[in-house]
Amino acid sequence: MSGLVIDAERCIGCKRCVRACGSAGIEVRDRLARPTAGCVLCGACVDACPVDAISIVRDEPSGGHDLESYRDIWVVAQPCPDGGVERVSLELVGRARELAAPRGCRVVAVLGEGSGAGGDAALALVRAGTDEVLRCRDDRLAALDTEVHARWLVGLVEERRPETVLMGATAFGRELAPAVAVRLRTGLTADCTVLEIDRATGQLQQTRPAFGGNLMATIVCPGHRPQMATVRPGIFPVPETLDDALSPLEAEALRARVSEVGLAPDVAGRVRVLERESSAAGASIADADVLVVVGRGIGSKKNLPLMRRLAELLGAELGCTRPLVEAGWLEYRHQVGQTGVSVSPRLLVSVGVSGAIQHLAGIGGAQAVIAINEDPDAPIFGASDCCVVGDCIEVVGELVRLLEERG
C-alpha cells in the first residue's frame, strides 16, 4: 500500500511536520507524528523532518513498461520567425550531447517548420552537435499550433521511442510539452534548471525551482518513457560552433544528417490566428541582461534619479518592488515579483529591497544578485551572492561616482 510512512523509532514529536503541512494532513499525538485523512502526499513534511522519520512509500509500478526499448535523447527544436531556431534549442542540444556521452546514445533534434522554410534551422542544429535532425516541412506546422505539433510529435515518439524528450521552457514549449506528455501518458517536469542522467538506467534527474525559487526539487520519472522536461532558456551555454564557411563536402555530410519525416494527413489545427503583434523591443525588464531593482529602502522618490543613473551606467533596466508601484513611484511594468514580472538577468543589483517572499519569487532566475540594504537581517541577503550592508543611497552614490570616473 502506498502512502505516508512514519518511522516511530526516529520520530521525536517535534511538530515541524505539522507546521510544514498545508492541508492538516499530519498531527502529533503522544509525541509521535501520524498522517490524517487530510494528507495529500505533497511531501512537505518529508523535507521538514529533521530526523528523516517520514517517507512516502509507493507501490512499484505494475508491469508492462518496456523501458529498455527506449533510446536516445530528443530535443524538440523551436523554429523562430527569422528562419533559424530559438537559442534555447541549441542550448539543449549542447546539454543533450553531454548527457548522451556517458549513456552512449544519440542526440536527435526534431524540427517542424513550414514548407517554405530554408535549411538554416536544420543546419544550425546539426552544427550544434546533433546526430540526426528529424525534420517535417509542412505548412500546418508553420503557425506553431500546439495541437498540430503535439499530434505530429506523439506519432513520431510512438514510432521511434526516444528515452528522453527535452524542450525549451518558452511560451510555446511550455504549452506543447504537456500536450505531448498527456497524450503519451508520461511524466513531464517543467522549467528545469539542472539536468543529470543516471548512466546505467538513463533516468533523468530533473531539478526545478518550486515556490518561486525558494525551494529546489529534484524529480524523476522511473516507470515511464519517454521522460520529458522543459528547460529554462539561458541555463546552458550554446555549444561553440565554427563559423567558417563549409566546404561543399562538409556541407553535404551535415545535410546527410537531416531526415525528412511526414505529418499524417488527418492532423489539423483548430485554433486560427487572426492577428499578430510583436512586443515592443527593449525596455522590458523580463529580458534584461542587467537589472537594477529598487525597493522602499531608497527612502524617497527623490532618490529615483540616482538609481536611474546607476542603471544607465550599468546598461541596466530599472525594476522595483510592489510598494513602489503602489506608491506610484514607478509604473507596473517595472514591478518584479510574484505579482509582477519574473526576471532572469545575468546581474541583478538590488537596492533597498527587503526581500519579501513574493519579490524573491520573481528574481529566482537571476544568475548573480548584489544586494544593498541597511538591515543585515533583510531576507534579500539570503538570496544574494554579494551582500552589502549599508546606507543604500550612500553606497549607490559612491558606486555611481566610481562608474562615472571610469568613464
Binding site: 502506498s2 507546521r19 510544514a20 498545508g22 492541508s23 492538516a24 487530510g38 495529500v40 505533497c42 521538514a48 523532518c49 529533521p50 512516502i56 509507493r58 523551436q78 506553431l144 500546439t146 495541437e147 511560451a171 511550455r174 504549452e175 504537456p178 500536450a179 498527456v182 497524450r183 501518458r185 508520461t186 511524466g187 513531464l188 517543467a190 522549467d191 534527474q205 518550486a210 515556490f211 525558494n214 525551494l215 529534484t218 522511473p222 516507470g223 515511464h224 483548430r270 485554433v271 490566428v273 510583436s278 512586443s279 510574484q338 505579482t339 546581474l347 513574493q358 544578485v369 548584489i370 541577503f381 551572492d385 554579494c386 552589502v388 549599508g390 546606507d391 553606497v395 552614490g397 558606486l399
Partner: protein, 265 residues
C-alpha cells in the same frame, strides 16, 4: 452554455516563512486560498455569463477542484462571487497526484458534469508554476487549447476569440467550442461577492465525489497514476548566503565596481 472553471487551493503566500533548521516552508496552518490565476479564470467565466445572460442566454458556471474536504470552503467562496455550483473531487486515492494524474482526475470531473462548452483554467498555480494542467486537460478532452489568454475578446457559444501571449508577443486567435482556455493573472480582476452572493453560496450545491463517484480509474489517480516523483527538495545553495562586502560606503562601492567589472560589464 456551460462553463467549467478549474481552481486549485494554494497556500496563502503572504504568510510564507522558512524553518531555519530544515530550510523548509512553514505553513503553520495558514489557510489556503484560491490560486490567483484561477481567480482570474473565474472572473472571465463570470463576464461571459454576464454578457450572454444579458442577451438572454442561460449560462451556467461550475467551479471544479481536486483537494482536501476543506477546499469546499473555497468553492463556496467562488459561488458567492457568481459561480452557480461546484464539484469537489476529494478522496485519499487522489492524493499525491502529479500534473498528469491531476489533469486526469479533473477531466473525469468535467466528464461527470456533462459536455461543457468551455473549460477555463489559470495559466499556472503559484505554488507549482508548471502551467501543465490546462494543456493536459485539453489533450484528455481532445479539445483545442488557447493558452495564456491576456484578453478575452468574445465568446458566443460557438467560438471564442482572445489575445494570448506567445514568444514573439501577442496574437489574436479564434477557436471553436468546446475548448480549453488558460488565462494570465492580469487578464481580469476577480469581483467581490455581494451580500446576495454570500447568502446564495450557503445554500448552493457543491457535489463531493470520490474516485469511484467520478468514474475515474484508480490506477490513473493520485500517487499510483503519477509518473513523476520528487526524490529530493532543498534550498538553493545561493540562499545559504553570499559574500559580505564590508567597510565604509566608499570601500564597499570600490569592491562592487570590481565585481561588476569582473563580470565583463
Amino acid at each position: 452554455m456551460r462553463i467549467i472553471v478549474c481552481v486549485k487551493a494554494v497556500p496563502s503566500t503572504t504568510e510564507v516563512k522558512m524553518d531555519p533548521v530544515t530550510n523548509t516552508i512553514v505553513r503553520d496552518g495558514a489557510q489556503s486560498v484560491v490560486n490567483p490565476f484561477d481567480s482570474t479564470a473565474l472572473e472571465l467565466a463570470l463576464r461571459i455569463k454576464d454578457e450572454r445572460g444579458a442577451a438572454g442566454e442561460d449560462v451556467r458556471v461550475t467551479v471544479l477542484s481536486m483537494g482536501i474536504p476543506d477546499t469546499e470552503r473555497l468553492l463556496r467562496d467562488c459561488i458567492a462571487r457568481g459561480a452557480d455550483d461546484g464539484l469537489l473531487l476529494s478522496d485519499r486515492a487522489f492524493a499525491g497526484a502529479d500534473t498528469l494524474a491531476t489533469s486526469y482526475a479533473l477531466s473525469c470531473g468535467i466528464r461527470h458534469l456533462g459536455e461543457p462548452d468551455l473549460v477555463i483554467c489559470g495559466k499556472m498555480a503559484v505554488d507549482g508554476d508548471t502551467a501543465q494542467i490546462g494543456p493536459e486537460i485539453a489533450g484528455l478532452l481532445d479539445a483545442p487549447c488557447v493558452a495564456d489568454v491576456r484578453r478575452l475578446v468574445a465568446c458566443d457559444g460557438t467560438s471564442l476569440r482572445a489575445w494570448r501571449g506567445t514568444d514573439a508577443g501577442v496574437e489574436l486567435v479564434e477557436a471553436p467550442l468546446p475548448a480549453v482556455m488558460t488565462v494570465a493573472k492580469d487578464a481580469a480582476q476577480l469581483r467581490m461577492p455581494s451580500i446576495c452572493g454570500v447568502r446564495a453560496s450557503l445554500a448552493a450545491p457543491v457535489e463531493v465525489l470520490d474516485v469511484a463517484g467520478a468514474g475515474a480509474d484508480p490506477e490513473r489517480c493520485g500517487l499510483a497514476g503519477s509518473p513523476t516523483q520528487v526524490v529530493r527538495s532543498f534550498v538553493p545553495e545561493r540562499a545559504s548566503g553570499g559574500a559580505w562586502i564590508e567597510g565604509a560606503a566608499a570601500q564597499q562601492a570600490e569592491q562592487l565596481l570590481q565585481i561588476v567589472e569582473g563580470m565583463g560589464l
